[in-house]
């Protein structure tokens, strides 16, 4: 129907273009340091870097889609690693109870977050900041340093790989697949988009608006719990600080936004988020190989986050296809018009 259907360049495309650029730059830089960017060890290092942040960013994507945030993830991670490790207490037979206990607790925290956000109408920022503080106090009061021990069979998860691909990354990708299906092919998923997009519309359509919010929070916490389990497998013990050490709260939000999800909710892509996570992991890898001063690493991270988001944040100001252009003469009447024009709020000088 449409005479000139411009192939829409979505933010996900751009994210993966950035991924490619990062790979290219990484290959050159790592090569210049006398290393091989594509060696097994290096790829495995990068992918390992994606798995923990990946779990959290998947969950964070859900929470951001419904218009909330989760700043409590670091503490859920720590708690889950501790619960798992202490329940397992180095007994292979306790693996299942340990995993279940950790995930159940994570789910309960997510439930509480969800109820506070959707029921008490507390902004997700505050609700989860508060919840994070509550858990952090609990951790500090009850766990002095690392605790418990995960059995060998469980630790294998953190140390096994198929070729250069760690099992943990595969599990993370499997979770991503499941969540992708949930988002795009289930009622709950549609309702998450709806609630994040416009609460009134969702309510008017008969959606129980609390359900998607609560579900997103529960899933986010459970995914953080999984990240905690993975860390318990890698560390061999539970640790009360492992979550906050990684700074996963802000980093995961940055990865989600980098992946093209609207911070305000209602629009976004999980695939993009994975791209964002990959960019971070590669960036860390490259900077470590180059032995960049750790303080400067943060500078680079900060600049890259902003610059990358800026690339496609500008794109959203595009309007509908032009009817007339400055150079050519009149064109035929367009019969498609994507997107109501969203002009700059700022006034151009």
């Amino acid at each position: 129907m449409s005479p000139r259907k411009t192939p829409a360049l979505t933010s996900t495309h751009i994210v993966y273009a950035v991924v490619l650029v990062t790979i290219a730059v990484g290959a050159v830089l790592v090569g210049s340091a006398g290393r091989n960017f594509f060696s097994t060890g290096n790829i495995s290092d990068i992918l390992t870097g994606t798995s923990v942040l990946g779990f959290i960013a998947i969950g964070q994507t859900l929470v951001i889609l419904v218009g909330s945030l989760d700043l409590s993830v670091p503490y859920v991670i720590s708690l889950s690693s501790l619960v798992a490790a202490t329940v397992m207490a180095n007994e292979t037979g306790n693996i299942l109870p340990g995993v279940l206990a950790a995930l159940a607790l994570a789910a309960a925290i997510g439930l509480a977050n969800g109820l506070i956000v959707s029921g008490l109408k507390v902004h997700g920022f505050i609700a989860t900041l508060g919840m994070g503080l509550i858990i952090s106090g609990y951790l500090a009061s009850n766990y002095k340093g690392s605790a418990g021990q995960t059995p060998l069979a469980f630790r294998l998860i953190g140390a096994t790989g198929i070729g250069p691909v760690p099992v943990s990354t595969l599990i993370m990708l499997a979770c991503a697949g499941a969540v992708l299906l949930l988002l795009n092919r289930s009622r709950l998923g549609s309702h998450m988009f709806a609630v994040g997009g416009d609460l009134t519309v969702a309510r008017m359509s008969g959606i129980k608006t609390r359900v998607p919010v609560i579900a997103a929070h529960v899933l986010c916490s459970v995914l953080a719990g999984l990240a905690g389990l993975l860390l318990a497998a890698r560390l061999g013990v539970g640790s009360p600080t492992i979550g906050s050490q990684g700074g996963y709260d802000l980093l995961s939000i940055a990865a989600v936004v980098l992946g093209g999800t609207l911070l305000a909710g209602g629009k976004g892509s999980l695939v993009g988020t994975l791209g964002g996570v990959l960019i971070f992991a590669m960036m860390d890898n490259i900077m470590s190989v180059l032995q960049i001063n750790p303080f400067l690493k943060d500078v680079v991270r900060g600049v890259v986050i902003v610059a990358a988001v800026a690339v496609y944040a500008r794109r959203r100001t595009l309007g509908r296809p032009a009817r007339f252009s400055d150079t050519t003469g009149p064109a035929g009447p367009p019969d498609t018009r994507p997107e109501r024009i969203q002009k700059d709020t700022g006034v151009t000088a």
Binding site: N90, L152, L235
Partner: protein, 386 residues
């Protein structure tokens, strides 16, 4: 593929740690009478080696035979660092790099590749694994971010058959060629608590300013001190400050608003000056106090004429790992557990240290031990971090 090392059953050493570390309500959880007694003795023990080079001194004990490592040529060292996120680590890191230059000049070390984990256990595990698979390392130096969590990774490094030197915090395995550390937290606790108890009366109040919970090195300091305060009938209340002077000042101000405070105890010197200033600002009598050998504290101490002492968590230990590797590659035996001296700075020798460190920034540590290294003193004065 599966990392071969992980298939080994966890080493026997890990077992007691697991049970010991289970969450417990008791505040004594970190207290270990045997270790306490050992460290108490070590405080007054005589160290082998030249006192002019404290970073090479050690306590007599088991030695690791390193004949197998003896070889010619400059070696590549891989260093997995926990972080340089506090002034103590920064000072040490500068010293270590100067030591590196010296060893590069003498042809012992060709290069040192460093990965900094930025305080994250998980990153440090990846760093070590990366070194194992990609680093072409001839030797490993590891400054673990935490004890239990890094144990498996250190074991994997050991399995490469290359020398592994662990320093500062330990791990729960003795596979390392050498584990370098000053006497330890209990000794710190004993030094400080005995000093304060000696100066204070029974029933006096001590405010204990602690950085954060859950770090073994720090927890042991408090475990020992708390016990001694209790024994001596001194009332001690402890706070976590995150090393933030603002927080410290508020805590002291609130304490002074509630009643008198006769002593201040710190598990690390960060922010000691703020604690003293809180007394000054409130117009209260200055307390008896223990801080650390950070210059800011020594300077304030001298200026105010405070009754104080500065325990030391010997910063010069950052030189030792590289020197240990020099010995190892020369085939000389090294202590399996290399205990470095750790003697507090007292009223008597304070002036001496202040003089020796003139021109150094406030965040510098008096016992950094790098006076004989090439960049001295500019590198430390300008705090050039590579």
């Amino acid at each position: 593929t599966t990392d071969s090392s992980i298939e080994d059953p966890p080493s026997a050493e890990a077992e007691p740690a697991a049970t010991e570390a289970a969450p417990a309500e008791s505040t004594d959880e970190w207290f270990d009478q045997a270790v306490y007694d050992t460290q108490d003795e070590q405080r007054s023990a005589t160290f082998e080696g030249d006192p002019a080079q404290p970073h090479l001194q050690y306590l007599a004990g088991d030695m690791t035979d390193t004949a197998a490592f003896a070889s010619e040529g400059a070696k590549k060292v891989c260093f997995a660092n926990a972080s340089i996120s506090n002034p103590w680590r920064q000072t040490g890191w500068i010293t270590m790099n100067e030591q590196l230059k010296a060893l590069q000049d003498s042809g012992v070390v060709s290069e040192m590749e460093t990965r900094d984990a930025q305080d994250d256990d998980n990153t440090q595990i990846s760093d070590i694994d990366y070194f194992i698979s990609e680093g072409n390392c001839d030797a490993f130096i590891i400054s673990p971010n935490s004890t239990a969590a890094l144990t498996p990774a250190v074991e994997r490094a050991c399995e490469t058959g290359k020398p592994v030197v662990v320093f500062d915090r330990g791990v729960e395995t003795d596979c390392a060629t050498s584990f370098i550390h000053p006497i330890g937290g209990f000794a710190w606790g004993i030094d400080t608590a005995e000093f304060l108890s000696g100066k204070l009366q029974e029933g006096d109040k001590v405010v204990a300013l602690r950085i954060l919970p859950g770090v073994d090195v720090l927890e042991q300091r408090w475990a020992a001190a708390e016990r001694l305060f209790e024994e001596n009938g001194i009332e001690a209340v402890d706070y976590f400050t995150g090393a933030d002077p603002t927080e410290i000042k508020k805590i002291i101000a609130d304490e002074l608003a509630t009643g008198d405070v006769q002593g201040v105890w710190m598990d690390a010197g960060d922010g000691a000056v703020a604690a003293i200033e809180a007394f000054e600002d409130a117009g209260a009598d200055l307390p008896v106090m223990t801080g650390e050998d950070e210059l800011s504290f020594l300077r304030k101490w001298e200026e105010t004429g405070l009754d104080a002492m500065a325990p030391v968590y010997s910063n010069f230990q950052w030189r030792t790992p590289l020197l240990a590797l020099e010995k190892i590659f020369a085939g000389e035996e090294v202590p399996a557990e290399w205990v470095l001296p750790q003697s507090p700075i007292t009223e008597e020798d304070r002036g001496e240290f202040l003089e020796a460190n003139e021109g150094m920034p406030d965040g510098h540590y008096a016992k950094f031990g790098g006076e004989d290294l090439p960049g001295y003193p500019t590198v430390w004065q300008e705090r050039q971090i590579p």
